[in-house]
């Protein structure tokens, strides 16, 4: 079993009193709680802090933990021999036991009577996992493979990690940040308590063409200056297939052209919109002929895109 230094995790001395332990825990919990923290490593860090606090706040568990002696964090160690006998007989091995599970198993006299939780109906633990899917999967629906290490009590009331593999069908209509529930796929309930649930938090992989906002999609639509000025029929990719878009004459850069219902499908009915955002792109290398035509246009056109600069300058001059 790997040693974890719960005092070091909470940043307290080994002789810290209960108040100091609670204060240290709260300070760290405010910083790392996954519902509050933006730190990607916050969840793992918070779990460590919570495990440490669950053991050190309980005088009996703390005394049992102190009995283990001092070791380096991560160092392999063996609990005293009588622990093995109490947990599962002389042959019991602590090799694959997690220290936090060991102490969680002490709850409700688990070590004394071999039945954690006594006769209380205890619901199984809920779990949350983030599932990364592609935009195409979100459109069609998909099946994902999940592999979870779920803590479970065995017939002797000992807590251990059970690896569970199963498939979850995600119906079409997902988008970033949406939640789904898989009933009964969390930890097993005890004494008739309901099994916990598994919650999936959907995260979409970034797409090379589309940017996602809810069920709406945004796509950059590069146009030539003449397409923007004269109007054009352009084939635009959408998740459901290519669509012909009519670009009106006089279209300007930054304009959003809406393709209704061409975004991501919604869970029950309908779909978001796709917005094509116009960019006007000029060729970086011009042929002789192109250069001549642009020159002719420059000479022939009275168009002044910066007229408002001059108006603003005149306005400022009048007021000084």
């Amino acid at each position: 079993m790997k040693y974890k230094d719960y005092y070091q995790i909470l940043g307290v001395e080994r002789d810290a009193d209960a108040d100091a332990i609670k204060k240290a825990y709260r300070k760290l919990a405010h910083k790392y709680h996954p519902d509050v923290s933006k730190d990607p490593a916050g969840e793992e860090k918070f779990k460590e802090i919570a495990d440490a606090y669950q053991t050190l706040k309980d005088p009996d568990k703390r005394a049992a933990y102190d009995q283990l002696g001092r070791h380096h964090p991560g160092q392999d160690f063996e609990p005293p021999p009588d622990w093995g006998r109490q947990f599962g007989g002389a042959q019991f091995s602590f090799d694959d036991v997690d220290l936090a599970d060991l102490f969680a198993g002490l709850a409700g006299g688990g070590r004394q009577d071999g039945r954690a939780g006594g006769a209380f109906r205890m619901p199984g633990q809920d779990f949350e996992v983030t599932v990364h899917i592609t935009l195409e999967d979100a459109c069609r629906g998909t099946t994902v493979d999940l592999n979870l290490g779920v803590p479970e009590y065995d017939e002797h009331g000992r807590l251990h990690r059970e690896q569970r593999a199963f498939k979850a069908r995600i119906p079409k209509g997902a988008t970033d940040g949406q939640r789904l529930r898989l009933r009964g796929k969390g930890g097993k309930g005890l004494n008739g308590g309901r099994d916990g649930d598994l919650y999936l938090n959907i995260a979409l992989h970034p797409h090379s063409l589309y940017r996602v906002s809810g069920h709406d999609l945004y796509l950059d639509l590069p146009l030539t200056p003449w397409e923007a000025a004269l109007g054009a029929l352009i084939d635009v990719p959408t998740p459901g297939g290519s669509v012909r878009l009519k670009v009106p004459p006089g279209t300007h850069a930054g304009q959003k052209l809406r393709l209704a219902g061409r975004g991501l499908p919604k869970p029950h009915e309908g779909a978001g919109d796709l917005f094509a955002i116009v960019q006007i792109v000029v060729p970086t290398v011009l042929s002789e002929r192109e250069r001549d035509l642009f020159k002719q246009m420059a000479e022939a056109s009275n168009f002044d895109p910066r007229g408002h600069f001059r108006q603003e300058a005149e306005h400022a001059a009048r007021h000084h």
């Binding site: 919570a50 593999a165 069908r169 906002s213 709406d216 950059d220």
Partner: protein, 108 residues
């Protein structure tokens, strides 16, 4: 052994759950949920109804409240404030994502 396949269910506005279900799903006692409704942090579909029902999307907020209560030992009033602020952060993040999605990616 072939792993079984489980259907995932959306937590969205199309489904509803009772106060009792919300209590089971969040781990919060019904009394605490009632207080969170009183403080405006959770909203039943029809606050005037004899039996409250909640959109399944409320489950996400109620579960957050359940975790905060268990892990940070917060009182209902502090929980309500935390939920309201977390909700505002989520809304602002969604708005920010929406605005970022509108920024051109390709620099021609």
């Amino acid at each position: 052994m072939q792993p079984d396949t489980t259907e995932a269910v959306w937590l969205d506005s199309e489904r509803e759950c009772s106060l009792l279900e919300l209590s089971e799903l969040s781990g919060l006692p019904e009394q605490v949920l009632r207080e969170l409704v009183d403080y405006g942090a959770l909203a039943p579909t029809d606050p005037g109804a004899a039996q409250w029902t909640f959109r399944a999307s409320v489950v996400v907020a109620a579960r957050t409240a359940g975790r905060l209560r268990g892990d940070l030992e917060l009182e209902p009033q502090a929980l309500a404030l935390a939920l309201t602020l977390i909700g505002r952060i989520r809304d602002l993040e969604a708005e920010l994502r929406g605005l970022r999605a509108q920024l051109p990616r390709r620099h021609a």
